[in-house]
Subunit: 131 residues, 4 copies
Amino acid sequence: MPWEFRKDVPLYLQLMERLQRQIVSGAVAPGERLPSVRELAAEAGVNPNTMQRALSEMERRELVFSQRTAGRYVTADGERIRRLREELAGVQIRAFLEGMERLGFRPEEIGELLRRQTGGTPPDGKGEREA
Amino acid sequence: MPWEFRKDVPLYLQLMERLQRQIVSGAVAPGERLPSVRELAAEAGVNPNTMQRALSEMERRELVFSQRTAGRYVTADGERIRRLREELAGVQIRAFLEGMERLGFRPEEIGELLRRQTGGTPPDGKGEREA
Amino acid sequence: MPWEFRKDVPLYLQLMERLQRQIVSGAVAPGERLPSVRELAAEAGVNPNTMQRALSEMERRELVFSQRTAGRYVTADGERIRRLREELAGVQIRAFLEGMERLGFRPEEIGELLRRQTGGTPPDGKGEREA
Amino acid sequence: MPWEFRKDVPLYLQLMERLQRQIVSGAVAPGERLPSVRELAAEAGVNPNTMQRALSEMERRELVFSQRTAGRYVTADGERIRRLREELAGVQIRAFLEGMERLGFRPEEIGELLRRQTGGTPPDGKGEREA
DNA sequence: GTGGTCTAGACCACT
DNA sequence: GTGGTCTAGACCACG
């Protein structure tokens, strides 16, 4: 069953995003071999060319590398993965902050709210509204 | 031009989400009249019944109220809107935290990262990678 | 626009019920002239024969009487109307009690509940739930 | 055989009313499984969507709950059912009182009449008119 | 015109 | 099979 994609951002970027998350989260380990382009494309429900482009771009960024005939592997460079992790975090953080500001929250407030949700003084254990 | 929707969450919930954001952000002012169900539905590219359901649900939550034949209005209750704002913030915060944790960040780290992005040491342009 | 009727009880009985209520409530005064059968039938959206039957039955009960050519009149006998009033009350009371018992209330409880709703110690002024 | 409905009140409300009475009266026991939406709809002679709406509303009120694929069940919360019972009683009582007042009875009289019908002097058969 | 309700028929995920 | 959602199209009362 094909994955879910947004229509307003290039498909190959969304594919990269997903693959990168899998690397960062450890779903695929450093140095691990990736499935073939065809397989990945089939799984995602996209054209192999599109998947190929995503992987090429990741190769350019040295997140994966291809071994001639032996397939494609995730980088074993832990430092590189760490940088990727922070990069993805940055994207996510900026999106979050923008979303919160569109809700009319000032940066200072946001920090305070997060502190309540995470560590600091826990509220009452169920700040969950119906949402 | 129809809006963008995810397929994995009910349409009427997504419609509610968007409308609620418009209320919270002040894009539609408290007490202001909303476009008719049919107009909103056409704008969103959904069936009027679906939009009706979204609005009915919001009515139940006292975010809007309908005036028999005169149309539908945003609540004028500022306190109610404030509560909605915090509710939406909560949803967004939890989604953010979950996303970060899937990236392998501990709650403490997240706070630190945010501090860098917002207050504390202002971004100097080097913090931004291409992303 | 025709009145509302239940399908499971004879039409003429329902017509009688309505007419009798109008007499008892004073909507039509004792001794007052009634509209013609045709008019009444048209108003109710029923066949004139059906309305005729209702009126004949009421005539038999001496609630109305017809003046040869001059039309039909409500009885001027106050005592008769008083009896009718109690009769209608009886129907209503029995229906009420039956309904309450189908809800599982014992006769004693019902009296207590009514006392709260009417006189006695008024509850808090708004025992109204959403209903 | 389709049920009987009034035309002047929404069908889904009448469906709720009937289902709620069945719960309160114990015709369906707490925790018991309900027939499927489609069955109930067929029995009532309404569109499945309409029945669905009635049940959804009852679900919102926590009178029933649905088990993904396993069907829908009456709440096992006896207290909730007790509240429903009183709510339905309240509706019925208010309707009764209004009906009696339209007949021109003062609240005090009504209490007296009920006392005769229920406790106090038991009906001797003469209190019953043909009605 | 407005909101509200109803029907008919379809598709989905779940199991 | 279940509940849940969505669309399409219709009708209504209210002003």
